[in-house]
Amino acid sequence: MKKNFLKLMAMSLVSVMALCSFAGCGGDAPADDTQKDGAETFKIGMIGPLTGAASSYGISVQQGCEVAVAEINANGGVAGYQFELLPADDQHDAEKAINAYGTLMDQGMNALVGTVTSVPCIAVTEESTVDGLLQITPSASAAKAAQYDNCFRICFTDPQQGEHMANYIAGQGIMNCAVLYDVSDAYSSGIYEAFVPAYEALGGTVTTAESFASGDVDFKTQLTSVKNSGAEGLFMPFYYTEVAYVANQAVDVGLDVPFFGCDGWDGVIAQLNGDTTLVDGSVFLTPFLANATDDKTVAFVEAYQAAYGTAPDQFAADGYDAVYAVAAALEKAGTVDNAALVAAMHEIELAGVTGTMTWDENGDANKGAILAKIQDGGVVPAE
C-alpha cells in the first residue's frame, strides 16, 4: 500500500514536470476576420515573444500597438481603412517567428510590426523580403534586423547608441572613462565597439575595457580593475539586471564614479525596488520617457494607463510609433500595395512618442536621443 502511494506520488511528480515543460506552448491569439461596417480592414501583423523569458518585451510592444490601433480607428481610420492588429507569439525563437509569419500571411497581413527581438527578426526579414511586405521592427537593434529594402526600424541601432553616449560623456568633460560590457551579447558588444572609436575621436581615453558573460553575477574583479585604472566614469552598455548587480558591488570594492548606460537600463528602477541610492546621478540613453510633458507623450501614457493600469515602457512606445509609422506610410501611399507602402516610408516624417524621425536608405530611424538621469527613485531628463 505504502509502495503504491509512493509510486502514485512519483507518477504525479513526473506528470507535473511534463506539464511544466509544455506550459510555454500555445497562446496564439485566434484570428478575428470580422470586418467593421463600411470600411475595409488593413491588417497589421505583430510578432514578438508573448510568452517565455523575453515576454515582457513582446507584451509591452503588443499593448503599445493596441493603444495606437484603437486611437487610429476611433479617429476614423486611415485612407478609408480600419486597422486590425493580429498578434502572434514567437517566444524569442527564430523558427517560431517564421511559422508565425506564415500564419499571418495566410490571414492576409498587409504590414508587419515586428519582430520584437533581434534574432527572430533577422530570420523573418529573409521571408518578408521575398514577399516585399512592409516590415517595421519596433525594437530589434541588431544591424541585420533591417537588412533589406522592405525593412525599417523604430529603435536606435547599437552603434547609434554608442556614438550618442560617447558624445554625451565627452561633453560632460569626462575624458577618462572605463567600459564594462557583456562580451557574449551582440547588443552590448555592438554598442561598445562603436563607443570606443567615437570617444577617442573626441579626445577621450578609454582607461580600461572590461567584459563579462551573460549570467555572471560577480563583477568585483572587473570593478577593481576599473577602480585602479583611474577612470572618472564608467560606461555600462548592458541590461538592467546586471546593472543592479554592478551597482551593489561597486560599493564593495570602493568604486565611486558616475555611471552611464544605454536603453537596456529601462527597468533598472523597478529592479532596485525604487531604491536608487546606488545609481543616483547615473545617466542613460533612452528613446522614451514616460514622465515627459509633451502632449503626445501625455496622451499616450494616459491611454495606456487607462487600458493596462501601468505606465508604458520604451517597448510599448516603440510599438505605438511603429503602428503610426505604418499609418503614415498608408496615408502617403493611399493604397495597400506593398511596393507603394515601402516607397512611402522614405518620404514620411513621423512625430512619435520616441521622437521625430525620418528613415534613411538603410531603414534606420534618424532621431534625437533622450538622456535620462536617475534621481531620487525616479527618472528625469538630463541637462
Binding site: 509510486k7 562580451v183 564593495d252
Partner: protein, 299 residues
C-alpha cells in the same frame, strides 16, 4: 617602488575578490560533496535548493517581516524539509536503479524546482535586503566587503563542524558506514534510509545557508539563480576531490582565486576556459581530485 606598491595593492584586492567568490563556491560545494560522499549520487538539484533558500529568505523578511535570524532559520527548515521530500519522492524509489537513471532524475528535479519558482515568483528577479549587516572593513587603500568576511568565516566554521559531525557522532559514523558499503551497514543494524535522509537534511540546510549568503552578497534572486553557482560548485567539489569535505573547501577557494586572478590579469573571456583547464590538468594528474581518497573496489 611606487608602481610596485600600486601593483601589489591591486593584486591583494583581486585576491580578496577571489576569496569572497571562492568561499561561496566552497559553501555550496560542501552540500554537493556530502551527498555524493554518502549516497554516491550527484544531486544536480542542489543549486536549485539554494535558489529556494534565497526565495524563502526574501519571503520571510520581505512579506512576513521576520527578523533576519528567524528568517534564516525558517529558510533552513524549509530547505531541509524540501531536501528530505525530494529524496523520498524522487531518489528513494531509484535506490537500486542504475546511476544514470538517478542522475537524469536529479536533472528533472532541478528543472521542476526552476519551473515551479518561475510559476510562483515570475521571471523578474527580486531584490532582497541583505540579512547580514556587517559593514566593509577599510585597511588603508583596501576595501573588504562585510559579506565576504562573514561568508569566509562561516564556511570555515561549517566545514569544521561538518567534519567533526561525520567523524565523531553516531549519525556521522553511520553515514561513513553507508558510504563504504550500504548492504554491510544495513546488516550491522544501520538504518540506511534514515541515514540517507539525514544526509539530505543536512545538505539542504547547508544549501539554505549558502542561498542566504549568496543573495546577501549579490542582492537578487531569480528562478535560475542557483544554476550557474551550482555548476561552479560542482566543479569545485570535483577539483577538491568529490566526497571529501575539506576538499570542497579547498576546491571552492582555489576556483574563486583562479577565476578572479585570470579575469584580472589574463583575460575576462578566457577565465572560464582557464578554470576548466586547471580542472582537466588536476584530474589527469590526480583523478580523485586534490584531497580525494582512492578507494579500491573489491569484487
Amino acid at each position: 617602488m611606487k608602481i610596485n606598491e600600486v601593483v601589489s595593492l591591486e593584486f591583494l584586492a583581486q585576491m580578496i575578490n577571489g576569496l569572497s567568490l571562492g568561499s561561496i563556491y566552497a559553501l555550496i560545494a560542501l552540500g554537493y560533496t556530502m551527498v555524493y560522499g554518502i549516497c554516491k549520487m550527484l544531486n544536480f538539484a542542489h543549486g536549485d535548493v539554494i535558489m529556494v533558500g534565497a526565495y524563502m529568505l526574501s519571503v520571510a523578511m520581505g512579506m512576513l517581516g521576520l527578523p533576519p535570524v528567524l528568517a534564516i532559520l525558517l529558510s533552513m527548515v524549509v530547505c531541509a524539509c524540501l531536501g528530505v521530500t525530494i529524496e523520498r519522492i524522487a531518489y528513494k524509489p531509484l535506490r537500486n536503479a542504475s546511476p544514470l537513471a538517478v542522475l537524469i532524475t536529479a536533472i528533472g528535479v532541478s528543472y521542476f524546482l526552476q519551473s515551479s519558482a518561475l510559476l510562483i515568483f515570475g521571471s523578474t528577479q527580486r531584490k532582497v535586503e541583505s540579512a547580514i549587516n556587517v559593514s566593509s572593513v577599510q585597511l588603508g587603500e583596501l576595501t573588504i566587503g562585510g559579506n565576504a568576511l562573514v561568508t569566509l568565516l562561516l564556511t570555515i566554521v561549517l566545514m569544521t563542524g561538518l567534519t567533526w559531525f561525520i567523524n565523531h557522532t553516531m549519525t556521522g559514523k553511520a553515514m561513513l558506514a553507508v558510504s563504504e558499503d550500504k548492504g554491510a551497514a544495513q546488516l550491522m543494524g544501520v538504518n540506511v534510509n534514515r541515514t540517507i535522509a539525514t544526509t539530505f537534511l543536512i545538505g539542504s540546510a547547508l544549501a539554505a545557508v549558502a542561498g542566504v549568503l549568496f543573495i546577501s552578497s549579490y542582492g537578487f534572486v531569480g528562478p535560475y539563480t542557483g544554476a550557474m553557482p551550482g555548476i561552479k560548485a560542482f566543479v569545485a567539489a570535483v577539483l577538491g576531490g568529490i566526497g571529501s569535505v575539506p576538499g570542497a573547501m579547498l576546491g571552492g577557494i582555489l576556483l574563486g582565486l583562479i577565476e578572479s586572478l585570470s579575469k584580472a590579469y589574463i583575460s575576462t573571456q578566457l577565465a572560464d576556459a582557464i578554470v576548466f583547464g586547471v580542472l582537466i590538468v588536476v584530474l589527469l594528474v590526480k583523478p580523485t581530485g586534490l584531497l580525494g581518497k582512492k578507494r579500491t573496489e573489491k569484487v
